[in-house]
């Protein structure tokens, strides 16, 4: 069943076309990767889906309902969560408070602070952040802040999670742990994931399907091995072979 459908979405900034009639679908329970060089429009695509930016044209349908034009908080309550590439923790609040906010205002809309903190505690446990629960978010290391970013998104109980470069800036062992985490959540929570990743190896290993963006256009789509052999992908990443 199709969970997310992007139909001819256009986004331009003062004449520069960041997304040029992008269309694709994501099925329920899928893990889809998005690849592309800097400036390909990957993060813009996430911002448009999550409602942080408004598309100039096209339609975005989530679970059979149009979500383009809704505010980010409304889209989140429909079940779409995103993480930010440049992490955005609530720095002056504790790690626990950060995650509890997701439980309080996300899809669950928990009314009780105590229940929200209990639920947040469970999420921190699963992400291995329990020992940092009382620390102010601004005092975390980058790897921990990336985990917090994921924890806070998961706390809103999404059906679709948009993960923007959660591995960037991590050491290889941290990245490996984070990759495992993604795999685990995808498997156990029936979570649909759309992920942007520069670390191509991780993306190839995790994704069931990959979409390649280049200068705002979708140039390839398929299984990791199909995409890896696609001449258009190769030309973007390696340049065109001389004739």
């Amino acid at each position: 069943m199709t969970l997310l459908s992007i139909d001819a979405v256009v986004k331009s900034f003062a004449g520069v076309v960041a997304l040029d009639h992008i269309s694709f679908e994501v099925g329920e329970g899928e893990l889809v990767g998005i690849m592309g060089a800097n400036g390909a429009g990957k993060t813009t695509l996430f911002s448009v889906i999550a409602g942080n930016l408004r598309a100039n044209d096209g339609a975005i349908t989530f679970d059979g309902r149009r979500i383009d034009g809704l505010r980010p908080d409304q889209i989140n309550r429909q079940g779409v969560a995103r993480t930010f590439q440049i992490v955005r923790p609530f720095g002056n609040m504790t790690v626990l408070e950060n995650v509890a906010l997701g439980v309080l205002y996300g899809r669950r809309r928990e009314r009780s602070m105590a229940a929200a903190e209990a639920k947040a505690g469970e999420i921190l446990e699963r992400l291995g952040l329990s020992d940092r629960a009382g620390v102010l978010a601004k005092h975390l290391t980058l790897a921990a802040r990336k985990r917090l970013e994921i924890a806070r998104s998961l706390a809103t109980e999404p059906r679709l999670l948009l993960m923007d470069e959660v591995l960037a800036g991590l050491t290889p062992s941290e990245a490996k742990a984070a990759t495992e985490l993604v795999r685990e959540f995808h498997a156990s929570e029936k979570l649909t994931i759309l992920m942007i990743e520069h670390v191509t190896r991780a993306l190839m290993a995790l994704s069931q399907r990959i979409i390649v963006l280049h200068h705002g256009q979708k140039i390839a789509e398929g299984t990791p091995s199909e995409v890896a052999r696609d001449p258009r992908t190769l030309s973007v990443y390696l340049g065109t072979a001389p004739q």
């Binding site: 505010r71 969560a81 955005r88 609040m93 906010l101 899809r107 602070m113 929200a116």
Partner: protein, 305 residues
Amino acid sequence: MTRRLLPTASVVTAAALLAIALPFLANSYFVGVGFTLLVWLALTESWIVISGMTGYISLGHVVFVGIGAYMAALTWLTLPIWAILPLGGLAAAALAMVVGYPCLRVRGPYFVILTFGLSELVKYVIVNIESALSVSGRVLFGAPGVETLYLIALALAWVSFMLALVVRESRFGAALRAIRDNEEAAETIGIAIGTLKAAAFVLSSIVPGMVGALLIMRSTYFDPLEAFSPQTSVLIVTMAVIGGSDRPLGPMLGVGFLVLLQELLWANLPQLYMIVVGALLIFVVVWLPGGLYGRLQRMTTAAVR
């Protein structure tokens, strides 16, 4: 939530109950100082509901005081006091409701300037209304004595403090603090930022409106230039910042400190007061970012360790 609230709430309530005794024990000079202290406390605690929690610094909170004062001046002797005070609060809330949503769309220094400009705008609108009606200042006859006004100020300060405390520890307040730290992230985890900011702005305007009505009963004279004086807004910000504006206990320190300073300087060097206030504000912003309360808190946690 109640678990965290209870100790502070009960201590402050007990202090407020004790403070009821002041008019029966002290002479009217001290009652007057107490009145001033409580009025500033009421204003500052209300201010932190919007500015302390969300980081949207309002430099125009006097507009609510002025509107409340004007309402009281207009209805004086036609309505009883118990109706005039809530009317002042209601008028302020109505104004906040109208201007809040559009104003809160701009952040940082733009919001500061906008609120300042707005309060000046409303001031001159009322100056012009008054001169069109050929009224120059309104005198309030038969206002209650300072002892009664003191007790009303005490009640308002208590309400304002409790409001700040409850908001600080509530689900609503957590969202406001998230907005202060990162508005876009807050929005993305389901927080309806526009509505919540506007709600906080309205909540923070009610007590100042009532205080405005109370203040002209004390001065028994309404003059728009005085009632809407930008100095009031600046003092609210300074008291909150000196004390530490994140928690309800912070402003208590700031208010106590500045009112004391005012009483000391008033007799000898009144013109120096605002200069000292400005210098203090700069000092605190640069060297004591968490204010007096933040400093104390760090010292005590260091001592515990």
